[in-house]
Structure formats: structure tokens, C-alpha cells
Symmetry: C2
């Protein structure tokens, strides 16, 4: 369970209520993937989020691992590396990220815990760092996004994706998606059609 | 409707389905507040999100305005300033944020549109900038968070809050919340008690 493929950055969603939390938990997984983490670990009951994030990896590329665990606490306690817990009660992200980066990035594996509604006090103790992206109540997804962007100093934005079926081409206006399974010409044709269907 | 108090950065949630979107829309509002925007504008039917974000402003401070509109399109079309639409199909955030900052920040009011499930093609046309925080599918809340943190170059993290009933004090471990309505001594006592109750 522990090590990600590149042995670098993993995100653990701590706690999940099926139905009520599906979207937030899925967004945690998709944000982890899009902003440079190597894997997400979901609680065992987050079946729909596992399915959605796995589907996005198939369609938009990887590498990115999606795992499940029935032992959240054990994953944390037995983590062989650094453990960061994102919480509004923690130390200020602008004060500690550089030290976290220097200590562990590319040196040992980093686990980032993203709490659900209730995080037991043990988690605060087990974590090497409790980190706050502002000491204000907002969104665990927003906190994860800002933390990853700062941890990687924005370099995650230039990452290349492999084995993607669809590639979005940046546009000043409208939408352009290239289907990599078709040849270049076919792809352009398909896109023109689908864009025109969508009124773009 | 248009101008925020400081005439600077407003976030518009475009589209909302009551029930299904309540949490995401609320997180858009709370993220806007925590990461330096001056106001959020919700669709008229987002009554629960209005309530929650307003309550957070009362408890954790401002200044931050929460508004509603029954005319999303008119707010955009009649905006007297710059309009940014965050979308995975847009130009790369790392390529355009500096230009957006130089053009409008502290010069004219900025409206940031955060889409719900379906954003009509007109919005892409009305926007001065369509901006992508990665061209990958993830979370509109994550996109907003990274965009604001980059727009403000992290300075939003040092903002002071006024008229807060509760202030969270950054901690390496555990939780510490100061109740500003009590005297300093009383507040410390209350916190010791409540922390002990919470096992922190």
C-alpha cells in the first residue's frame, strides 16, 4: 500500500461518507492527479470516487495510481517517510512549505492527509507536520491544491501525461480536444465536428 | 451588483443545482473569502450557500461580501472591468496570470467566473480571458484556489481579518481557537477547557 510508483507524493483521503461525500472525495483524487501527486489512497467505502478517478486516468492519462484501504490509521502510522496533515489549525503554509520540500521532496515519500468531517486527535499527533492553507475555514480541495502548487513550485503545471486518449489544447476561447487514437488529420476533422456540435 | 466594496476581485458562481451542488458552491464562496477575493456572487437559488458563507463571515471575520443575482449573464456582460473565466479548455494559468495581474489588479475590478456543470459558449466569448489551471479535469474549487494564490502572489495568506468572533492560532499540533469577545485571560481559560474537551 505504502509506496507510490515514483515513491514520491501520495494523498490520503481520511474519512468518507458514501453519497454525501462522493463529489468532494472525487475532487480530492482528481486534484491530486492534476497537480502532481503520484497516487491517491481512498477509504474502502469510496467506491464511486475510485471509479471516477480511474476513468479519468484512462481517458486523460497518467501515470497516477488509485488505491483503497480499509486501514487508514495503519497507512499513516506505518508510513515510511514524511506525513503532512492539512488542517486549518496547523502551522502557516507560507512558513513551513520550504522546509517540508527541502526535507522530503525527491528524498523520501510524502503522505498528505486530507481530512473529511471528523479527524481524530491522533492524526494531529502522528503527522510530522500539521499545515494550514490559511487558518480560515474553507475547502479541503482548495487547501490541497494550494499546498501541491507551492510544494512543487508550479512545476507540476508543465507535467506531460502519458497514454492519454484525449488531450485538451489550450485555447484563448472555445474548446479544443484532440483524440490521440485517431491520426492527426482524422483528429482535426473529428474536433471540428464536435466543436461545431457544441457551438464552439 | 457589480462593484465590490474595495472594487477589486469578485467571484461569480455560474450555475447551481440546489441540493446536489450545495457543498461545492459553498466551498467556492469560502475559498474566495479565505484566499483574498472581496466578494462572491451566487446564483439566486443558492440560498444555503449564501447562509453558510455569511455565517462564516460573522464568526471568522471580513471584510467579505456575499451577494445573489437572478441575472448571471447580465452581471458578466455589464461588468465594468476584466472578466476571467476559469475552464480546463483555457490558456495555461502559468502563461497568462502575470498579464492579468498587471492589466487589472488594483486598477480595475476583476470578475472571476467559476462554472458549474454546464457553461454556455457565450461565457467563453464574453470573458476577456479563459484560463486553465492545468488542461486536466479536476475541481473548480482547486482551480479557483490556485488562481487566487497566483494572482495575489501569496500575499492573501497574510491578510488580517476584522470583526472576527473566533481566531485560530497556528499550532504545530492540536487546535487553538481564541474567542475575541472574552478578555484575554478568560479566552485562554476557555480555550484550555475546550481544547481539553476535544482531547487537544
Amino acid at each position: 500500500m505504502q509506496q507510490s510508483r515514483k515513491n514520491e507524493v501520495s494523498v490520503l483521503r481520511y474519512g468518507h461518507r458514501p453519497g454525501r461525500d462522493d463529489r468532494m472525495t472525487t475532487h480530492v483524487g482528481l486534484t491530486a492527479r492534476a497537480l502532481g501527486a503520484d497516487q491517491v489512497i481512498f477509504p474502502d467505502n469510496a467506491t464511486q470516487s475510485v471509479e471516477t478517478v480511474t476513468d479519468i486516468v484512462t481517458r486523460f492519462g497518467g501515470p497516477f495510481d488509485v488505491k483503497r484501504t480499509d486501514a487508514l490509521n495503519r497507512v499513516i502510522r506505518e508510513w515510511s517517510g514524511t506525513v503532512v496533515h492539512l488542517t486549518m489549525y496547523g502551522e502557516r503554509v507560507q512558513d513551513v512549505t520550504e522546509r517540508i520540500r527541502d526535507t522530503c521532496l525527491h528524498k523520501e515519500s510524502l503522505l498528505i492527509i486530507i481530512g473529511g468531517e471528523k479527524v481524530p486527535s491522533d492524526v494531529y499527533e502522528w503527522a510530522d507536520w500539521n499545515v494550514a492553507v490559511t487558518n480560515q475555514p474553507h475547502s479541503e480541495v482548495a487547501g490541497l491544491a494550494v499546498f501541491l502548487d507551492r510544494l512543487f513550485r508550479g512545476q507540476e503545471l508543465d507535467e506531460e501525461w502519458t497514454d492519454a486518449e484525449h488531450v485538451v489544447i489550450p485555447q484563448a476561447s472555445g474548446k479544443r480536444v484532440v483524440d490521440t487514437e485517431l491520426t492527426e488529420t482524422e483528429s482535426d476533422e473529428v474536433n471540428t465536428e464536435s466543436q461545431s456540435e457544441k457551438r464552439f
